[in-house]
């Protein structure tokens, strides 16, 4: 016998074990106990691990990355300044933005731009969250807590600006928690695109 090999003695079966009957009775007791606990037991002692899915839904974890939303300013316009950081950061290249200038009489004219088009192809998206990381304005978020509603049409998964703006966050608001300093506010740094930093 090689060194280090320890031979264990095989446990002999007792007569009760060999006849199976008491062991089966024990097993039946386990099964029945489980059944009664999960069927008639008090609610907090039940150990049922599944839910009837479409009727009952589980809460996703708080940091779950769901479908995107565009946060709004106080006046309902998008916070997005069309800087293209998100579409640049996107490894799946699923964000398409067409930036546009505000009208010359708008106080924001010269300070920032806005997205004329903001399209996310949710089918192409890999839900990595890089766009949220990249956004300097807290304009794009993935805190809706929803996954995509299914559809048989590919076009339905191209979410435009209007759709993204009108998705609420998990807390039900369309805004973001960070304050926004609009041009003209006393807190606004007052730096325009032309002036530079």
């Amino acid at each position: 016998m090689a060194a280090g090999v320890k031979v264990l003695e095989r446990k002999k079966r007792t007569l009760a074990e060999a006849s199976y009957v008491p062991e089966i009775a024990k097993g039946l007791g386990k099964t029945m106990g489980r059944f009664f606990k999960n069927t008639f037991g008090p609610e907090e002692k039940k150990e049922i691990a599944t839910v009837c899915y479409p009727e009952e839904k589980r809460e996703y974890p708080p940091r779950f990355r769901g479908i995107h939303r565009l946060t709004q300013r106080a006046d309902g316009s998008p916070r997005c300044v069309a800087c293209l950081c998100c579409s640049t950061a996107c490894p799946a290249q699923c964000i398409h933005i067409e930036p546009a200038e505000y009208e010359p009489d708008d106080p924001r004219y010269g300070y920032e731009r806005y997205p004329a088009k903001f399209i996310i192809d949710e089918l192409r998206c890999i839900f990595c969250g890089y766009c949220v990381e990249a956004c300097p304005c807290d304009a794009i978020r993935m805190d809706t807590g929803m996954h995509m509603p299914p559809s048989t049409e590919r076009g339905h998964f191209l979410y435009g600006k209007e759709v993204l703006l009108n998705l609420p966050g998990r807390d039900g608001t369309y805004l973001s928690g960070n304050p926004r300093h609009e041009p003209g506010d006393p807190t606004h740094p007052g730096v325009t695109r032309e002036q530079g930093h």
């Binding site: 089966i24 059944f35 069927t39």
Partner: protein, 469 residues
């Protein structure tokens, strides 16, 4: 009774059995197997099949919730008030309160108590329906119905090179004998037609038209069940052979050898019953246990026989832990591999009916059949001789409680069905507890385990019977 009366009675009994076994027990078993197994395995299980109720009805239910709640409260309050009045009357020796004597208050306690419990149940049911948005799911009981509809409308596929005739007839060969076996099982004491709304005298001969409460009273009795169950093996074997599939063929061969082997064991395990009950007729066996007031299970040789019978019976129905003919891990689905749609459904139903038959047989052989403790032909006769007067009234409760003939029979039938349900449930629990045997272990258990043990049991029973008589 003339011949047409006999035919009518037989037809009624057949209808009753088919309604109970195929109409109630088989779907119940499907439901139990799905939902209860889920509960055992910490799942919710299938319970989503439902009938959507119209909006108006749901609104009505919602509107009735508040009044029902109030009704529950009022009923229990009234019952409590009546109890309080009774206690006060007893304490201070008052004869009547508000012109009513104690008997009225007793009735009030019972009436309001029952009303309260019923209202409570109704409230719970209505609330469940309202909460789920008007879906009548009945605990998932509608799921077997949905399953059946699915099976009927599913494509009925026959393999191109299969033997069409044998392939189609195999499920029928499995189902029919299973139902036929029920013909000889007695589900109540003899019905005396002329006495149906009277109390039958407890002792002595009764001169009346006797209708046995079983479809056919055969003198071979239990042997008929074995003959019918033996036919069941042909269904599985033929189904496996006709499918033109090697897995099916293997399954069919396994089914045939397993069922033939266990047929032998099954027959021998219950020979002690014949020796003790001294008859092959199942109605005589039930009557013996009724007369002696001693169920077979509590007679030592029969206790062993009943355990051996349970093993052999589960193996005979090819259910887990003895389901090697199906053996999905080795044989895909065994003899069921090529079956789909309602043909598969018939195999499936046949298996469940066999479970019911074997449970019913076990009840008749070992658990007294239709015998209810302390219930006799004339009604209940509880142990001892005593009388109890309900305080403050002239009501007397005694150990004797006479019942009309129909009520006695009804209680017997219900108790018989209850015992069958308990045994079926035990079989289900065994199914969900034990892992599958290997094929050689299965055969060893039969030929080296059950067979010698049952032979020894016969010997011991024979010696005991000789000593006893």
């Amino acid at each position: 009774m003339d011949i047409s009366g006999h035919i009518l009675a037989a037809l009624l009994k057949i209808l009753f059995i088919i309604a109970v076994v195929v109409g109630a027990f088989a779907p119940m078993l499907v439901w139990a197997e799905r939902r209860q197994s889920a509960m055992i395995q910490d799942r919710v299980g299938p319970r989503r099949a439902h009938i959507p109720l119209p909006r108006g009805v749901v609104g009505l239910f919602r509107a009735s919730l508040k009044p029902m709640e109030a009704g529950v409260f009022l009923s229990f309050f009234a019952a409590g008030l009546a109890i309080l009045t009774l206690v006060l009357m007893g304490l201070f020796g008052i004869e009547t309160v508000a012109g009513q004597d104690a008997e009225t208050f007793y009735l009030a306690v019972i009436g309001f108590g029952i009303a309260g419990v019923l209202l409570r149940l109704g409230h719970k049911l209505h609330k469940g329906i309202v909460d789920s948005g008007g879906k009548l799911a009945l605990l998932g009981l509608l799921h077997p119905a949905a399953d059946a509809v699915k099976m009927i409308f599913k494509e009925d596929f026959t393999p191109p090179k299969a033997d069409k005739f044998l392939f189609s007839i195999a499920p029928i060969i499995t189902v029919i004998p299973a139902i036929i076996s029920f013909a000889v099982i007695p589900f109540a004491d003899t019905l005396y037609l002329e006495y149906w709304d009277q109390v039958v005298p407890r002792d002595g001969e009764i001169i009346a038209t006797a209708v046995p409460m079983q479809v056919a009273s055969l003198n071979v009795g239990i042997l008929f069940i074995f003959a019918a169950a033996g036919t069941g093996v042909i269904g599985a074997a033929v189904g496996g052979y006709a499918s033109d599939n090697k897995f099916s063929l293997m399954g069919g061969i396994r089914a045939a050898s397993q069922m033939v082997s266990y047929e032998v064991a099954l027959g021998l395990t219950i020979v002690p019953c014949f020796m003790i009950y001294d008859s092959l007729r199942l109605e005589d066996m039930a009557a013996w246990q009724h007369e002696h007031g001693w169920w077979g299970f509590f007679i030592p040789p029969l206790t062993i026989a009943s355990i051996l019978y349970l093993f052999a019976a589960i193996a005979e129905t090819k259910r887990i832990p003895f389901d090697v003919p199906e053996g999905e891990s080795e044989l895909v689905g065994g003899y069921l591999t090529e079956y789909s749609g309602m043909k598969f459904g018939m195999f499936f139903t046949g298996e469940f009916i066999e479970v019911v038959v074997l449970a019913a047989l076990a009840v008749v052989l070992f658990f007294g059949g239709w015998d209810v403790p302390f219930l006799y032909r004339s009604g209940f006769d509880l142990p001892g001789t005593w009388e109890l007067t309900v305080p403050m009234t002239e009501w007397v409760i005694t150990d004797q409680f006479l019942l009309q003939h129909w009520a006695v029979l009804l209680i017997q039938v219900l108790f018989f069905l209850f015992k069958v349900v308990v045994l079926m449930w035990l079989q289900l629990m065994i199914r969900w507890t034990l892992p599958r045997f290997r094929y050689d272990q299965l055969m060893q258990l039969c030929w080296k385990g059950l067979l010698p043990l049952s032979l020894i049991n016969i010997l011991v029973t024979g010696i005991l019977v000789l000593l006893w008589t």
